[in-house]
């Protein structure tokens, strides 16, 4: 049979973020797949070297829009290790609390996306509605729905009040009720089971060999979780189970994430109950002494690692970030092999890919002028309008007519 090569992406309706997959097809089946990434590369690692440690916290937080707290925690943990800082117990608990609430919103988001990719949009509507509960809690605790800005070197920036803790307990009760229902759907709904089973299979051996992480690996029977294996923040004080499944397919990955949600509710309850009193920060020096540290964090998508090298000044010498999606990508090519083309969206979505995380990083380029330089928002907007106008798409007239219409009314 003739083989046909199909490019999917970087801009494609089935992908939520830019990535390019070259799929070699034999009939309807994928014979071979390769990935091209980098469309979201923003130069964050280089930018970190040119900014102070405090500025870098906010920069690395913007590596990802979903697991922002994962990156800022991994970064501050490394800096604190170099500076020899011991954060107060209350700060460790608050960090963990935000981290687990973030996991809830991330896993619920994934469940919705997965539902959408297999044509089960009711699940998308349900989970994303319920996700608002945890988004509201995060907004109440930190002031933001994402990019919480809670971490600082030596602790956290905001305390939690007893009323907020009570709100968390109420929200968690509601979410647990809903998640029980989703688990019932996932384990009893025959069409969903049939749609997800044996799709995107990755053997245990391949998961180990290709270095898969997080729920992707745990659904292949790899019993690994940084929260238990390399405990940080307050995880050593918590009692929880690592969810492992042996289905090794998209169905297994769904069960692992649903199971993890239930564990997370338990963890949040323990954190609320045991929240120690006391300070939330220790004083951190502006200049960090020379040294290096390697920090690991179990992000919703898997192990997130940061390496920081300090040179004694107020700016780091080097910051290296490896987000979980990059570790999972080698496995994606393997998972796609021998699957139907129509399964590609859910197979890719099943690792919960986050290409912004993966690509990270600086130069905004003005190709026409041949110079680099940051663009102001207004300039960028004008540039976009001009770009489209040159290609025959002009809304300025429409905007004027719309303004006139509004005046009349």
């Amino acid at each position: 049979m003739n083989r046909i090569k199909i490019p999917v992406g970087p801009q494609h309706p089935a992908l939520k973020e830019p990535a390019n997959f070259q799929l070699v097809l034999e009939g309807e089946k994928i014979y071979e797949a390769s990935v091209r990434l980098g469309y979201n590369h923003r130069g964050i690692e280089k930018a970190c070297e040119q900014r102070s440690y405090i500025q870098d916290i906010y920069l690395v937080e913007r590596v990802c829009g979903i697991c922002s707290h994962s990156h800022s925690t991994a970064f501050v943990q490394a800096v604190e290790e170099i500076a020899g800082l011991q954060i107060p117990p209350r700060a460790a608990y608050i960090r963990t609390l935000i981290g687990e609430l973030e996991r809830i919103h991330s896993h619920l988001l994934w469940l919705g996306v997965a539902g959408h990719e297999v044509g089960f949009d009711t699940l998308l509507m349900y989970t994303w509605r319920d996700r608002e509960i945890v988004m509201d809690l995060l907004a109440e605790l930190t002031g933001n729905r994402v990019n919480y800005g809670i971490n600082t070197i030596g602790g956290v920036r905001r305390d939690v009040s007893p009323e907020q803790l009570a709100d968390i307990s109420k929200g968690i009760d509601a979410l647990e009720e809903r998640t029980k229902y989703y688990i019932q759907v996932a384990t009893e709904e025959a069409t969903l089971i049939a749609r997800l089973s044996k799709v995107g299979f990755l053997s245990h051996t391949d998961a180990l060999k290709l270095g898969a992480v997080g729920p992707t690996a745990r659904a292949c029977g790899v019993d690994r979780d940084m929260r238990r294996d390399d405990p940080y923040a307050a995880y050593a004080d918590l009692d929880f189970k690592v969810i492992v499944d042996n289905h090794s397919d998209v169905y297994g990955r769904t069960l692992v994430r649903a199971g993890e949600l239930m564990q997370t509710y338990g963890m949040v309850r323990q954190l609320v109950k045991k929240m120690p009193a006391g300070e939330i920060t220790v004083r951190a020096p502006r200049k960090i002494p020379a040294g290096e540290a390697f920090s690991r964090y179990e992000a919703p998508r898997g192990e997130d690692v940061h390496y920081v090298q300090a040179n004694g000044s107020e700016k780091p010498e080097r910051v290296k970030i490896r987000a979980p999606t990059l570790a999972n990508l080698s496995a994606v090519s393997k998972m796609l092999e021998d699957n139907y083309l129509a399964d590609a969206p859910i197979v890719i979505a099943a690792i919960d890919p986050c290409f912004s995380c993966t690509d990270r990083a600086l130069a905004i380029k003005d190709a026409q002028k041949g110079a680099h330089g940051a663009m102001e928002w207004g300039n960028l907007r004008e540039y976009g309008i001009e770009w489209h106008r040159q290609r025959g798409i002009d809304f300025s007239d429409l905007n004027k007519r719309f303004a006139k219409l509004m005046e009349k009314n």
């Binding site: 390769s34 990935v35 091209r36 990434l37 980098g38 590369h41 130069g43 690692e45 280089k46 290790e81 180990l208 060999k209 290709l210 270095g211 898969a212 690994r224 940084m226 238990r228 294996d229 390399d230 290096e292 540290a293 390697f294 690991r296 192990e303 690692v305 390496y307 090298q309 080097r318 290296k320 490896r322 990059l326 570790a327 990508l329 080698s330 496995a331 993966t358 690509d359 990270r360 600086l362 130069a363 380029k365 003005d366 190709a367 026409q368 002028k369 041949g370 110079a371 680099h372 330089g373």
Partner: protein, 158 residues
Amino acid sequence: MKEEEISSQLAAQFPFLAGQVRIQRARRLWVEVSSDNFMDVLTCLAGKMGFSILCTITGLDAGDSFAFIYHLSREDGTVLNLKTKILKTGGQWKSIGKLFPGGIFYEREIADLLGVKFEDLPPGARYPLPDNWPQGQYPLRKDWQALSGSAPEKREAP
């Protein structure tokens, strides 16, 4: 203590590493080896000693040389950071794709951002810079400035 056990095990395997292992804290070990001994030490760590997980590879611009840190982990969460250096004029460095197939992306990233050439890196798309990135521009080198160099050539959409 398991960290000290690992340290003495390594020293028993490789006498030149006696007293060279730095234990920074629980579950964090650091060791530097010469580029000639690197492959032997890595193979031993990844095989016999159970450091079978490659978390990532960090590439560093260390003046006249490149430094690489291989962050290796065991199933119990212990991390050994294996560091080595090559001269910038020395040319090529070895790919560890055979031992860790998942490490190829990390090597491509170092190749793109630092300009290190890897032997036996399988053919494939570059990562993460765009295809029309100007040649000889390596953003993570210390002497690289965002304002230097020419803009990428303009290409029409296919």
